[in-house]
């Protein structure tokens, strides 16, 4: 790939990401719905476990990650419905916009939308499961949330793109996405748990390293594969 081609793809990514974010903003009621859905999931977990505060604290990281994962799935499905309404995505392919550019633009916009969930879900989880908002771990939480958004967005966009033209999308997307996300989910559960419960053994570094590696691999591989996903079924 020449420098000029790379510059062209980067310019396409920026133009398409601006378009995606503009559309997300104009459909912000959908974002609010996704955030409220996440809060509801957190609330349901706290009710399911009951007043046993120790059990809640132990499982808090897992509950937070599951709420994020479910909210991500909901957001992805909606995001691709916009792409297929009146053949808009086909229109981009005809221009022709690069498949990699379409992928990275969509992944950036999904990741940024997921970042918006953090300031709401993390404090709610702290209040529900720990009983206080610990400001000490705030910087770590923000960093982890960024990695979570990146780790969920790339495979999410790939599989949402793959299943979005199918009638059974609602079922297939979680079936395909969740197994692939297992390494990221496990690392996130451990890392979020360490922030929420404390990290006396200083294990955080190793989990963050695993997360960084998987985020890197996902963003690289999914960007390459998305071109084939777009052309599949033509």
């Amino acid at each position: 790939m020449t420098l000029r081609t790379a510059g062209g793809i980067l310019a396409q990514v920026l133009a398409l990401a601006a378009k995606d974010l503009r559309l997300e903003w104009r459909n912000r009621s959908r974002i609010v719905a996704v955030v409220l859905f996440g809060v509801l999931v957190l609330l349901l977990f706290s009710l399911a476990v009951g007043p046993d505060s120790r059990a809640l604290v132990e499982a808090s990281g897992g509950f937070l990650v599951i709420a994020l994962l479910l909210s991500t799935t909901l957001g992805l499905q909606e995001s691709f419905r916009l792409e297929h309404a009146d053949g808009a995505l086909e229109g981009l392919r005809l221009l022709p916009a690069s498949g990699a550019a379409i992928f990275y633009a969509k992944a950036i916009s999904v990741a940024l939308t997921l970042l918006l969930l953090g300031p709401v879900l993390a404090p709610v989880a702290m209040i529900l499961y720990i009983g206080e908002v610990a400001l000490g771990g705030l910087a770590q939480l923000i960093g982890l949330w960024l990695l979570a958004a990146l780790g969920l967005a790339a495979p999410g966009v790939l599989y949402a793109g793959m299943t979005s033209r199918l009638r059974s999308q609602d079922v297939l997307l979680p079936l395909l996405l969740y197994p692939l996300e297992v390494p990221v989910l496990l690392s996130l559960v451990k890392a979020f748990g360490l922030v929420l419960r404390g990290d006396p053994m200083e294990q955080m570094g190793s989990w963050v390293t695993i997360l960084l590696v998987f985020v890197g691999v996902y963003w690289l591989l999914c960007g390459i594969l998305f071109e084939y996903v777009l052309e599949e079924g033509t």
Binding site: A11, A15, R26, N27
Partner: protein
């Protein structure tokens, strides 16, 4: 492929051909939407594809635009193969389809600005805001530049889609039922633009039920029936309705 699908072989390919198909077919499940079509369109020519609903017009245009893979046959569009060289084909082809290919959440100005930015990223010259406003005026959408596309009528969407073909640097323009859902001024606008594309040396292929417009605008005509070529030749020599069942079906009589 049904035996009845076999038709006369395509004429020999020449370097001046913008589109060349031989034995092209497309199957969806067990049904052949397009069966063994031979088609040759010379550069700069305006060709109309006539046929009833389900005769294979849309499938053929989508194959030519590299949006649909043929199940069989040989094909070249602007000298490239639409399956193995689809990006090159798409650079040379503009498609105006039943679907508008537009985002309902963007307004008309933002839509054109997005197209121009994406084309600029591919090496085309930048287009300023003033020029975008002029382009919208040219299709009668200047006064609704800030209105979201979701609030547009079908006709207004088609006008905006037409603008894309105007700004793309493609050599071939494909239009699928361009006169459908348009009022008389809209139909007049489409006719004018087809003329503009032709005078600019661009190859135009449009699918239509409107036989009068087809005879007036096109130099060549291809009549499709059940996915096969029923007749092809100069548009002016296209048979009358009574002479060809496919034409009666196309006009819905």
């Amino acid at each position: 492929m049904p035996a009845a699908a076999a038709s006369a072989r395509a004429e020999a390919r020449e370097p001046t051909d913008a589109i060349w198909c031989e034995g092209v077919g497309r199957r969806f499940g067990r049904r052949w939407a397009l069966a063994h079509v031979d088609l040759r369109v010379r550069t700069g020519e305006t060709t109309v594809i006539v046929g009833a609903n389900g005769s294979g017009k849309t499938t053929l245009l989508r194959i030519l635009a590299a949006l649909c893979h043929p199940s069989c046959g040989r094909i070249e569009v602007a000298g490239h193969h639409p399956v193995t060289q689809r990006t090159r084909v798409r650079r040379q082809v503009s498609l105006i389809s039943h679907q508008s290919f537009l985002y309902g959440g963007l307004d008309a100005f933002e839509t054109v600005a997005l197209w121009t930015r994406l084309l600029e990223a591919q090496g085309e010259p930048p287009v300023g805001r003033q020029r975008i406003a002029e382009l919208l005026d040219s299709v009668g959408l200047g006064h609704v530049a800030g209105v979201p596309v979701r609030d547009f009528s079908q006709g207004m969407r088609k006008r905006l889609s037409l603008l894309r073909a105007a700004i793309e640097p493609s050599r071939i323009v494909l239009l699928d039922e361009p006169f459908a859902a348009l009022d008389p001024p809209g139909q007049q606008l489409i006719s004018e633009w087809i003329g503009v594309f032709g005078r600019a040396g661009r190859t135009v292929v449009f699918a239509s039920h409107a036989l009068a417009a087809a005879r007036q605008l096109a130099t060549r005509a291809v009549v499709l029936q059940s996915g096969q070529v029923a007749w092809s030749g100069p548009a002016a020599a296209m048979p009358e309705l009574g002479q060809l069942p496919a034409l009666r079906a196309a006009e819905g009589r």
